[in-house]
């Protein structure tokens, strides 16, 4: 079979398998990015407004995650996460369960993303003029409403470029799950390539798919940033 036939959708071709791998990659990236955002929001608020112990613990978390390769964190967390959940279940008298690679992948990449998101969002929250937050507090606005109405809308513009970067890192980090044997796009590609020996065809096709995700994401985040910056005075010469 030649190049394009190998990529055909139907059984002898690998199109459907690649598409399934792509879908898994995107879903894991979405899940990990969302989890990372949640951790990041908590972490950023903890670092800015938390007590001294919270701040120190968060500093340890972000430092360790940013100094140790993702691959090793994935391995450690992958094993630690699945075995500790099983230990908990056994301790409570439940059956041991098989944790799907999908959930474990999201959890692990989410923890990694959370460390970076903490730093991005912390910087973004700091960019909101302090006077506004103080004014809202002085008016007796409850903290959640303050975050929702004053901090979030204004920090968004400053946070979007960093978050866009994080999202691109998330999509590319899903490839690392191939090393622990999860069949996302990169692993499926490698399986297809080593079965058919058409290495260039498959790796380039997969590269093209990743590139499409990244180009599409850049466009979408550009739109979101423009929306988040609406009403801001544009600076000269930018």
């Amino acid at each position: 079979m030649s190049g394009l036939e190998l990529l055909a959708w139907e059984a002898p071709g690998w199109g459907a398998a690649l598409a399934a791998g792509l879908l898994k990659s995107v879903l894991i990236a979405l899940g990990a990015f969302s989890l990372g955002l949640l951790i990041g929001i908590g972490g950023a608020y903890g670092k800015l407004y938390g007590g001294p112990v919270t701040r120190d613990l968060l500093a340890v978390y972000t430092t360790i995650v940013r100094a140790v390769p993702e691959l090793i964190l994935i391995l450690i967390l992958y094993f630690a996460f699945t075995s500790s959940i099983n230990n908990l279940l056994l301790a409570w008298g439940f059956e041991r369960i098989q944790i799907s690679g999908f959930v474990a992948g999201i959890a692990v990449l989410g923890v990694v993303q959370g460390a970076y998101a903490t730093e991005v969002l912390r910087g973004a929250i700091l960019s909101v003029p302090a006077g506004q937050i103080e004014a809202a507090r002085a008016m007796g606005m409850p903290p959640l409403m303050l975050a929702w109405r004053v901090t979030f809308p204004q920090m968004l513009a400053a946070a979007i470029p960093g978050l866009a970067n994080l999202w691109l890192i998330a999509t590319k980090d899903t490839a690392l799950l191939a090393v622990v044997g999860y069949a996302e796009l990169t692993l499926v590609t490698r399986q297809a390539a080593s079965t058919t020996k058409a290495f260039f065809t498959f790796f380039m096709a997969a590269g093209l798919l990743y590139l499409c995700i990244s180009i599409l994401s850049t466009l979408i985040f550009g739109r979101i940033e423009a929306w988040a910056r609406r009403g801001q005075v544009r600076q000269e010469g930018r």
Binding site: P52, V53, D56, L57, I64, R66, A67, V68, P69, E70, L71, I72, L73, L75, I76, F79, A80, L168, K172, D173, T174, A175, L176, A178, V179, T186, T189, R190, A193, S194, K197, F199, F200, F203, M204, A206, G207, Y210, L211, I213, S214, I215
Partner: protein, 258 residues
Amino acid sequence: MQGFWAPRRIVMAAIAAGIVVWCVLALNWTWLADPKYQGLILQGIWTTIWILVVTMVLGMLLAIPLGLAQAAGPWWLAMPAAGFCGLIRGTPLLLQLWLLYYGLGSLFPSIPWIRQSDLWPILRQAWPYAVLALSLSVAGYEGEVMRGAFKGVPHGQLEAAKAMGMPRFTIFRRIWLPQALRRVLPTLGGETVLQMKATPLVATITVIDIYAVSSRIRQDTFVVYEPLLLLAVVYMAIAGVIVLLFRWLENRVPQKTA
């Protein structure tokens, strides 16, 4: 640094020390005593470090023309350079690595003059592909950084040099490049740590770095966590050294802050 050893820090340090002591006592470290593994670990750390250094240097050498082409080049140089950076930054490094290793690795043996050349014994090994893929990755990411750095050098300085009759290459060598490099120095430390974090991927194409060594120990001895913890400690130590090295480098470069 005043007040670093506040009571809570002393408690936290005590807890951390407790965890370390527990790890040392309760976990299985007997494999560390095996001289075979000691040798492998040292070799693995050495491989990781030289791959990191070589790919950073090669990548930066490529990144300078890439950045220059995007910052000041004509469109027929700027476009391919921007395309290359986008390509590298838009696809996972693991995929690039596998494309080069499996793709070129399956292509080269079928070309007779490569098989007969003196380079063949080298090209049959895995490390040239690892070095190539990681260097190209550095070039892609740093090319983008260098573009910003070249653009950030005040234009008046270049015009002044031109007005003094300095040849173009001398302007580049004496004025443009040094100032651009000084600008990227703070970023470069972080990027080097990121590059260090990418090096364990080379283990997937059979280069024996410290990550591959730990996988081998895990397979040989059936010890699950301990080699991974050792790996994490080794990488954190390397990251610490990189950060200190760049801090020292930054302090050596005279910088006038307004």
